[in-house]
């Protein structure tokens, strides 16, 4: 069926809600994203279906297979929602055998042995007031709430309304104006004002222009784009089409990494459904405007997320960045004006159009309106995907949403902005985070990775770890990044091995400045950030490694000596038995001794000693 006008769209939406009244009142939302499936969500889903069928409960329950709810720490997860009174309850770590108990819930008493996840994770799109919620969902508004494989689900959640309104009631410049006024900034890392980018592209008078959605998502630990594409693909298609209308382009590409097979499958399905209903293709909403979208696959190089490298890759060239200017908005794909926007950026667009820029500006901060999705990871209790208003403090995120540091350890730092971001120390936990405040702290927003570190992490080692990644992913085009990164890794390795000198620290500092200043693309320019920020906030740790040959976190193997504390040793021989190089001697029931010349510092003795008799220093 083809939808030709807003009128037809709202009639169709009504039909959908009528037909829904035939099914059950209680929605059973089963989170079936890649992560949920890996945790066993498909078995749980089958068990739920089976229980409903066997007990003839079809009239009560309406099972919805959704994308990721973001509750990584307790997958598989299931949400029950009573559509009559709005009550809902979320279950975590669900096993197939729990299905009966879950379906029997009365929304009051909590069934034992299944984890109940505190509500407050969701602030659905429709709510006007963000105050009582820690999170605010705009980009993830449908992710985990609708079935991504059914266009009807998207439509009944106001889907394609914004597109209809744009085409029927707005001029392209009005659309750009609305986006500009909303203050939306690119969520792919740079934070460039989206409206401004569209304005540049719209101002070019060439016949052919392109819209590209950057779904390369190469930051290790970031998976918000995957969540959107798997959970709400239509929101991206709708936004790209709106962008096409705004800049007068007729063709869009989604550049997605081939490692996201489920997202690709759902996107392909969504594109076909959208074409069938006339939201893509010729004469959309019966207008002169035509637009279509194709997928292009990336082979998983981090640098291909950089927009000029991405464009080269689509053109069939080696994925290497080009110097800017010219910017893609002026000279992009096949030298034609091209806007490249991130998945999450696009996921904000239709809500902004539907609710207006004033509504959007009420959320977030003056310079960074709206929300940001973060992928919480590392030494934190609640690992997962969250969306919070800009300006939320790190403290809120780590302690209130993330539930604090795992294993009762002491918080040391949080790395924002992925491997090319910087670390932030406990002193700055109260900073409201947005693009500019993070930059001021020497870190960055990046795509929204957030890795929490505790007292067991050595900051020199952490810097080396992140740098290893960027050095590995350097495209090799420019000298500072290609060779400078490698040399920087060498220096850090030297320091973690206790062989660093004062001169090395000096060289490290000036080298990181040069790489930052002189590299061609963002990868090189930001690669030294972990080094620069750890050298700034944890200078003492570097000094300890260099001057005292000590690693306070006990991470740097070469700097650790294992020895037996004779007073505590009961002579149980456990250490002696496990040592792979037989460097521990001692008789039963007598204190043992470690020959530190032979010791390879594997730490096995430390691990097996039940009497805390091995010291690590």
């Amino acid at each position: 069926m083809m939808i030709k006008s807003l009128q037809e769209l709202s009639e169709y939406t009504e039909e959908l809600s009528d037909s829904r009244s035939n099914t059950g009142d209680i929605n059973v939302l089963v989170s079936l994203g890649t992560c949920g499936i890996a945790a066993g969500a498909e078995e749980v889903h089958k068990a739920i279906r089976k229980t409903i069928n066997e007990n003839n409960l079809g009239h009560r329950f309406n099972v919805i297979e959704t994308g990721c709810m973001g509750l990584c720490f307790c997958e598989p997860s299931i949400e029950l929602e009573d559509t009559k009174n709005g009550k809902s309850i979320i279950f975590g770590n669900v096993k197939p055998e729990n299905s009966e108990k879950i379906l029997n819930t009365d929304f009051q008493s909590e069934p034992k042995e299944i984890d109940i996840i505190e509500k407050g994770w969701y602030y659905p799109d429709e709510a006007e007031n963000t105050d009582n919620y820690l999170q605010a969902k705009i980009a993830l508004r449908n992710t985990g709430r609708i079935n991504p494989e059914k266009i009807d689900d998207y439509i009944s959640h106001s889907g394609y309304k914004a597109l209809g309104r744009v085409i029927q009631d707005m001029k392209p410049e009005d659309v750009i104006d609305e986006i500009t006024k909303s203050g939306l900034r690119g969520r792919g890392g740079g934070g460039f004002p989206t409206g401004k980018k569209w304005t540049f592209a719209a101002a070019q008078s060439t016949e052919e222009k392109f819209v590209i959605c950057n779904a390369d998502e190469g930051d290790p630990g970031a998976f918000m784009d995957r969540a959107v594409l798997e959970g709400d693909p239509h929101s991206v298609l709708e936004a790209m089409t709106i962008a096409g209308y705004a800049i007068n382009a007729t063709k869009g590409f989604i550049y997605i990494r081939a490692e996201y097979p489920l997202a690709i499958e759902r996107l392909e399905l969504a594109i076909n459904q959208s074409r069938e209903m006339g939201f893509l293709g010729k004469n959309i909403f019966n207008s002169n405007f035509s637009f279509d979208i194709e997928l292009r696959f990336g082979a998983g190089a981090f640098v291909c997320g950089e927009e000029t490298a991405l464009i080269n890759s689509i053109q069939g060239l080696r994925g290497m960045p080009s110097n800017k200017p010219p910017y893609p908005a002026v000279e992009g794909l096949w030298q034609k004006p091209t806007i490249v926007n991130n998945v999450e950026t696009f996921a904000n667009i239709s809500t902004i159009i539907r609710k207006g820029h004033e509504w959007f500006r009420k959320i977030g901060t003056e310079d960074s309106p709206g929300t940001k999705v973060f992928a919480l990871a590392g030494k934190i209790q609640n690992v997962g995907l969250i969306e919070v208003p800009m300006g939320t403090t790190l403290k809120n995120i780590i302690y209130d949403i993330g539930n604090g540091i795992a294993d009762n350890k002491k918080f040391k730092a949080v790395q924002t902005g992925g491997p090319s971001g910087g670390c932030i120390t406990p002193d700055y936990l109260n900073t409201p985070i947005d693009y500019d405040s993070l930059k001021k702290l020497g870190s960055m927003m990046g795509s929204g990775g957030m890795i929490v570190m505790d007292e067991d992490d050595c900051m020199v080692d952490i810097a080396r770890f992140f740098l290893d990644f960027t050095v590995d992913e350097s495209c090799g085009k420019c000298v500072p990044c290609r060779i400078g990164g490698k040399q920087m890794c060498g220096l850090l390795e030297k320091i973690t091995k206790g062989k660093g000198t004062e001169k090395d620290l000096r060289i490290l500092k000036s080298l990181s400045e040069t790489i930052k200043n002189a590299s061609l693309c963002g990868l090189g320019m930001t690669a030294p950030n972990p080094v620069i920020s750890t050298m700034k906030y944890f200078a003492h740790e570097y000094e300890e490694h260099v001057y005292d040959k000590k690693c306070r976190a006990g991470k740097c193997q070469e700097l650790i000596t294992y020895s037996v504390i004779p007073d505590k040793c009961v002579g149980c021989t456990a250490c002696k038995k496990i040592c792979p190089v037989n460097c521990i001697s001692g008789k039963v029931k007598e204190p043992h001794f470690i020959n530190s010349d032979k010791c390879i510092k594997c730490g096995e003795c430390y691990r097996v000693c039940k009497f805390n008799a091995i010291s690590k220093s």
Binding site: V471, I483, G484, K486, Q487, G490, S510, T514, A518
Partner: protein
């Protein structure tokens, strides 16, 4: 007349065309901003980052090879800060470069060596340990005319772009990424690729990474500084008339380069660059031969010309003009070929005239 723009570099007023980049404008005004990947014959790469400058009102550093000069711009090109970055970049390049200059064909003709000398970056003055030895880079000497030494390659892309943009062949690309990046034909071996050995790439290489095999003196490697004389001449092969620089030692050809002038602008094909070995070949004909009693015998020019003229007259009178045909060579000049067809038509009296390039 084209509008001129005026801007300053380190306070000095520079006049340039709006088409100029900061780098080319500087060059025209006698200021040489250090660079390695820049090659005016091909598109801008902006990869070596040596030519970075600062521009007032714009944050950060900018490669001057990629930035168009604009009216009123205030450029800083040689401040201490910028020179410090350049030094570090050069130091980095040298750490990944096999600096065995003593044994290098490009010794004395190497842009990296020149810059290292200029910045006084002898081994003792460098901050970074040599890492090139640990890199497993794949060199390739399977081409009949080229050697690729990956340990010397500075990944400037000049070869890749010369092959693609000047020769239109696109044989070369990079393999791997990061520090492991090397030039490749995409085949396991150079000689399996479609490379026809024109040598454009090695001519563009600023260092000793891509070099000519010593085809003219296989047992005697020659460096630029050994060359006694270089003569600019016309390639004797096809009718295009490429200009070439023929270098000789002791009156023997040791190498041929493309000369940067009309019509070839520095390019040659494989024959022009590597095919002139016939000049010094012992079997090369230096005198006309006349077959006597079934055997070729050396003759003087006068004798040979007279013999040919007599035979032509005889054949023409006995069998008619059309029993003669003339075949000229594309390796002759236009003027020679014009004269030849004129001779065939008006003196021999036939239209039977053709030349090798049509066959």
């Amino acid at each position: 007349m084209e509008k001129q723009i005026t801007f300053t570099i380190d306070g000095k007023t520079i006049k340039a065309s709006p088409k100029d980049t900061i780098l080319t404008a500087a060059e025209k005004n006698g200021i040489v901003i250090p660079n390695l990947c820049y090659n005016k014959e091909v598109s801008c790469t902006a990869a070596c980052r040596l030519c970075i400058v600062k521009i007032e009102g714009r944050p950060g550093f900018h490669p001057s090879c990629a930035m168009k000069a604009a009216d009123g711009m205030k450029v800083k090109a040689f401040t201490d800060e910028i020179e410090k970055q350049r030094r570090i970049i050069l130091d980095l390049l040298l750490s990944a470069h096999n600096d065995d200059c003593i044994n290098c064909k490009k010794d004395g003709d190497c842009e990296l060596q020149d810059l290292a000398f200029k910045y006084n970056l002898g081994r003792d003055s460098r901050d970074f340990p040599p890492i090139w030895e640990q890199l497993e880079e794949t060199s390739d000497s399977t081409s009949q005319v080229l050697d690729y030494d990956a340990t010397k390659c500075i990944q400037c892309q000049r070869c890749i772009k010369a092959c693609q943009e000047k020769q239109g062949k696109g044989i070369l690309t990079f393999a791997n990424r990061g520090i492991k990046t090397t030039v490749t034909t995409g085949y396991p071996q150079w000689n399996a690729s479609l490379c026809d050995g024109c040598g454009e790439c090695q001519q563009a290489c600023p260092v000793g990474a891509l070099t000519m095999k010593p085809v003219y003196s296989p047992n005697n490697r020659v460096r630029q500084k050994d060359i006694e004389k270089t003569t600019t001449t016309t390639c004797p092969y096809c009718g295009v008339g490429c200009q070439i620089d023929v270098s000789t030692i002791n009156n023997r050809i040791v190498k041929v380069d493309g000369h940067n002038d009309i019509p070839n602008h520095g390019s040659t094909c494989v024959k022009g660059r590597f095919g002139l070995d016939f000049v010094n070949h012992p079997e090369r004909l230096t005198k006309p031969l006349i077959r006597k009693d079934g055997k070729f015998e050396e003759a003087e020019w006068n004798e040979a010309l007279k013999y040919t003229a007599d035979r032509l007259v005889k054949i023409k009178t006995e069998y008619g003009s059309n029993s003669v045909c003339g075949l000229s060579s594309a390796r002759c000049t236009n003027e020679d070929n014009y004269l030849f067809q004129k001779f065939m038509r008006s003196i021999v009296g036939t239209n039977n005239v053709d030349h090798c390039a049509r066959l």
